[in-house]
């Protein structure tokens, strides 16, 4: 076992745990354990925390392990696909941002489901949302934990099961006791590690292996497809453009990302976060994937491309530095899972329990239940992760696309379009999800684009067509979400045309 590489990782995990405990103690002392605090950090994030918690939640092990693996296989053309996520934070904040924050404050929404419930007043919408969140986020969390434990094993030699238990339990515990604020703070720490890892790995490559230019001749002669476009996977311009939807603007449909679109304190915070988030996401994205093709020349015969990056790191760095760099993908795993865990927990506690089982539950009972649900879901996910599924990146892309196809239309149209109604929302969610899964299974990449394009176009069409074909939403709803005065507080809210 490689103790030197294990030490930086264990230190990092212990710091995370300490943050969770710290937040728990502070909350205890202040007596602030409300739902808005636990699931949304009391809407008081500043620009740096906001940026890191959005980006670190969105950037997963796919960016750090899956992507360099694919680039090892097919070359720089995959790097192009990865940079389509650079604008993700800007799109999420820009489209949801102020509008979502204002509306959420009007109706007291703490989660995405709260918003959809108030906007569409439909049990079907709420149940579909809860179902989508639990199934997809659950699968995605398992994939992330599996990825994390594989990294741990490949670097430190710690057995898969022990690695999984070690960091799985720490993540579950600090998320459970610390809630959203602990998640945001640890996301910031993880984000810094992810930046640091990228810089260290490039520096170590140049020092210990040589410049990129020293590989050019061999690359062109031995594996020319690595440097060509569209390359072996036919990454043509239409396909790249469609990835700007999948990894870019459609990320608005990811529940663990979109909830962050209402977590900040002021519009100034949001603007500053938009300045930072492009450049930080660029740094997350570019460093690791760019090394994939070079790894191919150094280690040409790897069975599983997912091991490309760990192999490179272990082969070219001193052990302790390998530990620091490999903490980056682990940080990506942890910062994604902790956010999802809270969203899944809020779905169970707020959307199922309080809505359908016991609406009269006291705040104290809700608090106890929130802790319990987070803990239990976390443990279930860890338990599922003991038997790992095969190809990491595929599962990741599948779950992400499914969530986006389900939620993009109801969130955006529900927020900006008065005429959107419950039938439109239900149809768009079902059509989005079913068409995404069906096309992925039977006819992937329709029209030469990623399946997400077809699914979202169909889902938006369903939203508009069905909304127009059925009666408009009650005026009461529009009054509550669009109106300037509190409903019922004033008697003349309506303007006569």
């Amino acid at each position: 076992m490689n103790i030197q590489a294990l030490i930086p990782i264990v230190v990092y995990l212990l710091v995370l745990l300490a943050v969770g405990v710290g937040i728990y103690v502070i909350n205890r002392r202040r007596q602030s354990g409300g739902q808005s605090e636990y699931f949304l950090g009391g809407r008081k994030l500043g620009p740096l925390l906001l940026t890191f918690t959005i980006l670190a939640s969105a950037a997963s092990s796919g960016t750090f392990i899956g992507a360099p693996g694919v680039a090892y296989d097919i070359g720089f053309s995959w790097g192009l696909v990865v940079v389509t996520q650079v604008g993700m934070g800007i799109y999420i904040l820009g489209v949801l941002g102020k509008r979502f924050s204002i509306v959420a404050r009007k109706i007291g929404a703490v989660t995405l489901t709260d918003f959809l419930r108030a906007r569409f007043e439909s049990h079907t919408v709420v149940l579909l949302t809860t179902f989508g969140i639990i199934v997809f986020l659950g699968a995605y969390m398992v994939a992330q934990f599996v990825g994390g434990a594989i990294i741990m094993e490949s670097v430190t030699g710690l057995k898969y099961e022990y690695g999984l238990l070690l960091f799985g339990l720490i993540v579950v515990v600090f998320t459970t006791i610390g809630g959203f604020m602990a998640v945001a703070l640890t996301d910031a720490l993880s984000g810094i590690l992810m930046l640091l890892g990228g810089i260290v790995i490039w520096a170590a490559f140049f020092v210990n292996v040589g410049s990129f230019a020293s590989f050019t001749e061999r690359m062109v002669a031995e594996v020319p497809h690595l440097v060509e476009l569209p390359g072996p996977d036919d990454i043509n311009s239409l396909l790249i453009a469609s990835y700007f939807l999948l990894f870019g603007i459609a990320a608005i449909g990811l529940p663990h990302a979109s909830v962050r679109g209402m977590s900040f304190d002021t519009s100034k915070t949001m603007h500053r976060s938009m300045y930072y988030s492009g450049i930080i996401m660029f740094a997350f994205s570019i460093f690791f994937v760019t090394l994939g093709p070079f790894t191919r020349l150094l280690y040409p015969d790897l069975d599983n491309p997912d091991t490309a990056l760990p192999t490179l790191i272990l082969g070219t760095m001193p052990d302790w530095a390998a530990g620091v760099v490999l903490a980056a993908p682990l940080a990506a795993v942890i910062s994604t899972v902790n956010s999802m865990l809270l969203v899944a927990s809020s779905a169970v506690v707020r959307d199922v329990y309080r809505e359908y089982i016991k609406p009269s539950a006291s705040p104290r009972r809700m608090a106890v239940l929130s802790y319990t649900a987070t803990f239990v879901i976390g443990i279930v996910v860890v338990a599922f992760s003991f038997t790992p599924p095969d190809f990491l990146q595929l599962i990741v892309i599948y779950a992400i696309g499914g969530l986006e196809a389900t939620f993009f239309a109801p969130i955006v149209f529900g927020l900006y379009w008065r005429r959107a109604n419950a039938w439109g929302a239900i149809t768009s969610m079902v059509v989005g999800l079913v068409s995404y899964v069906a096309f992925e299974l039977f006819l992937p990449f329709p029209f030469g684009m990623h399946t997400i394009v077809t699914a979202i176009v169909l889902s938006i069409t369903a939203m508009v067509a069905v909304s127009y074909a059925t009666p408009p939403p009650p005026v009461r709803i529009i009054q509550a979400l669009w109106g300037y005065r509190k409903p019922g507080a004033a008697d003349t809210p309506a303007r006569t045309e």
Partner: protein, 97 residues
């Protein structure tokens, strides 16, 4: 009789709508810049005829690095000059009532 269109909208929403379309514009710009640069410099060119800078194919360096950084700059400018600060309270008039 009031219908959904006669509800007077929160005056802040006008600016929100404007910002939505600015973001959609930025998204299109991001695609055009990145795809445009890569296609122009590298689409369909065999490896032996590609030019390299710092050991990276030019289409990758200018498309993925250059295009993305250009987009970051562009979005900073758009936010700096076209986005407006506003209070985020749900119903601002409550405070005075």
């Amino acid at each position: 009789m009031s219908d959904i269109y006669s509800v007077e909208a929160d005056p802040r929403f006008k600016q929100c709508n404007r910002e939505l379309f600015l973001i959609l514009g930025l998204w299109v710009a991001n695609i055009v810049v990145v795809v445009g640069l890569t296609v122009w410099l590298g689409q369909g060119v065999p490896a032996s005829e590609l030019s390299f800078t710092f050991g990276l194919p030019d289409w990758y360096l200018w498309g993925a690095f250059g295009g993305s950084l250009l987009f970051c700059l562009l979005s900073t400018l758009v936010v700096r000059f076209f986005f407006k600060d506003m209070p985020l309270d749900g119903y601002p008039e409550d405070e005075n009532a």
